[in-house]
Assembly symmetry: C2
């Protein structure tokens, strides 16, 4: 069977009109003789409304009932999609996770799909049916409804693609695909036709909101080709696949930048085991998201300088936490608002020497000072003054030949 | 086990505030050492919103998916009630019909509860839990969600009371109970403390919107005591029970009246078999609800006069249907707008002669002309000019001593 999994996000099914459009997209694949497995999120806004109700009932709403409550969102969307397909003369029905079943393990509100019973769906596909499956949810050993913590409906789609050995998993969303950099920040940003899982992971971690990193990682582990595309425009999207499927690797695939970051430096920290933990544990506890962390090797073996970045919104909180923590010894504490992290990402870097140099030289040519550097196998990140972000983006986008279509 | 079934209607769970109140009511019974089984409807408005969505998707939305769609309403309400009880420190959880299961037979959108598996709920009650069960729905042999056509959540409550041999089934709603007559029409209307199933059936058929006749009939067949009371006011309601439980039978328990009725008379109809069917079949097909039907015995054995009432809204439709139907032979067709049906109801009538006479005399004393009469064992209905409705109500309410508390 030539199976394709189509996943529709909340904005794609956000209104009756959009659901009708979604039904047309599904019919398109059916006509191409695909066996189509559909996964849907809740209509946009519905889940938030339900969560609001739960928080009005209790500031500590039980997670067992939370799952029962929010899972209705996907149930509604799936019944409407199936209803529309039946209206158009197709054999279709909603399949709720417990009817298949999609079995999960782990705590409520944070479950993980463990097993999908294929029998009923395969039988249904053979008869020519189009199953519309509720994303984001499952049922546990106790026969209770669960929801998937991380990745949501994307994770459902990828697990369905895995269990049904789908040819492809297509994620329909409100953007046209993955771009070389944020199109809102740089007009010249180009849609990437094909990208490796690893690059996509870096891009997602850096804020490309197309898919959650955990779902990309699931797809990578199970070698499932994902296509991200818009449900509103009939255009090809971005294919996320394994590196060996990508022939014309550019050195750099994409560039990302952050906004509203602040830099925190602890100068002259006692260089002994447990220091980093002592600093970051209270921050983590207080939900401060620490991004780049750089520690210089101490010259004398006794002291070191530690630098990290946070969102500027968390700056006051961070100041207070560090200043009140008497267990950390340092000589000086330096805060700097208005910094930005620029990252260039590309698997091509591994085999191409000199990318780091080209990046630094490009910034130097523009008189842009680099404050902190951090690198991984397929990514180089630098911290610069926020004011230089746009200029840096333009220069690097050009330097790594991203201005032209791939 | 001393089991009580508490059913909450849509208005009783119509807001977060009201759901919190409902949780308090439940706790009250728990404290009295009852094993409490709760059944809830959807929050008021929710079901209609879902139905609106379905009709926007298709003017012929499939009934299988309709059930999947609208059943989310009760799921939401039940998870919120359970969540509130857990918040208050009680052991509670939502039980969706398929988790119990509540098995139904019959078509989608119009199913009937056939069987309730008691094992899980009994076990849960023994452990001290408060099950919050979704009303109005079940699951069929194909493991698909169904909804109950007639009676809705009331029917669910009564079937649960039956299967769990509950001591009582309490229907919480937005009225305080059943009244001797509509309190909106007559200020002196009194709440009835206790009423027989049979009387309640007549009252419900005549427009007392407290419960649907089908659910009263189910309760009657299974000898389940029902109490109807308000979830907003802490007052005793109306007990619906078998006749032998009622000691101080009044002759008349209640009086009802209709509004906006019209009378249709076919004078000089050929008196032969099949005539009534020929008249009423096309009306029924066109969804005209025919109420009182009276046919006089024909004097000559060849002709008869047939009179029936309909809602005035259906008058033009009815005129057209009858005039266009060439298979009916009659001499004259008379329509009369602005009539009202007044009915007195009471099981006491069976054993008390002269009720009919007292009713007619009371109306005669007020110079109110009676157009049509129709009687049953426990009910007398008369048709009068609409203009006289209020005066008739006042006079009869007084005549049958309903002005004073029972």
């Amino acid at each position: 069977m030539k199976i394709v999994v189509l996943k529709f996000g909340g904005t794609s099914v956000g209104s009756i009109k959009k659901i009708k459009k979604v039904a047309e997209i599904i019919v398109g694949y059916k006509r191409k003789n695909y066996k189509v497995v559909v996964v849907s999120s809740a209509m946009s806004g519905v889940t938030n409304e339900l969560i609001k109700k739960s928080s009005e009932i209790s500031n500590n709403f039980p997670i067992t009932e939370y799952d029962v409550l929010v899972s209705t969102g996907e149930q509604i969307a799936c019944s409407l999609i199936a209803g529309r397909l039946i209206h158009k003369g197709y054999m279709s029905r909603s399949w709720l996770a417990w009817q298949i079943p999609i079995l999960t393990v782990g705590a409520h509100k944070n479950s993980r799909i463990n097993q999908i019973n294929k029998i009923k769906i395969i039988k249904y596909l053979r008869k020519g049916g189009i199953p519309i499956i509720t994303g984001f949810q499952g049922v546990n050993n106790d026969n209770r409804i669960t929801t998937i913590g991380r990745g949501g409906s994307d994770a459902s789609a990828i697990m369905l693609a895995k269990f049904f050995r789908a040819e492809r998993c297509i994620i329909y969303t409100d953007v046209e695909g993955v771009y070389t950099t944020d199109p809102n920040k740089l007009k010249k940003a180009k849609k990437i036709k094909v990208i490796s899982y690893e690059e996509m992971l870096e891009m997602a971690s850096l804020g490309a909101k197309v898919m959650q990193p955990v779902s990309i990682q699931d797809a990578r582990l199970n070698r499932i080709d994902i296509e991200v595309k818009s449900s509103f425009k009939n255009k090809s999207g971005t294919l996320i696949t394994k590196r060996s499927n990508i022939i014309n690797n550019k050195i750099v695939t994409g560039i990302s930048s952050t906004q509203n970051d602040s830099k925190v430096s602890l100068i002259g920290v006692k260089d002994k085991p447990g220091v980093a933990a002592a600093i970051f544990k209270p921050l983590s506890k207080n939900l401060v998201n620490v991004d780049m962390v750089v520690q210089n090797i101490s010259a004398n073996g006794k002291e070191t300088d530690l630098t990290f970045t946070i969102k500027t919104d968390d700056l006051n909180k961070t100041k207070k936490i560090i200043q009140e923590n008497k267990t950390i010894n340092y000589r000086k504490l330096v805060f700097e608002k208005g910094v930005s992290k620029i990252s260039v990402i590309g698997v091509g870097m591994i085999t191409t020497p000199g990318v780091t140099f080209r990046m630094f030289q490009t910034l130097a040519n523009k008189q842009i000072n680099i404050k902190v550097i951090s690198t991984s196998e397929i990514k180089i990140s630098v911290l610069i003054d926020k004011i230089n972000t746009q200029r840096a983006l333009i220069a690097l986008h050009k330097e790594f030949k991203l201005d032209h279509k791939k």
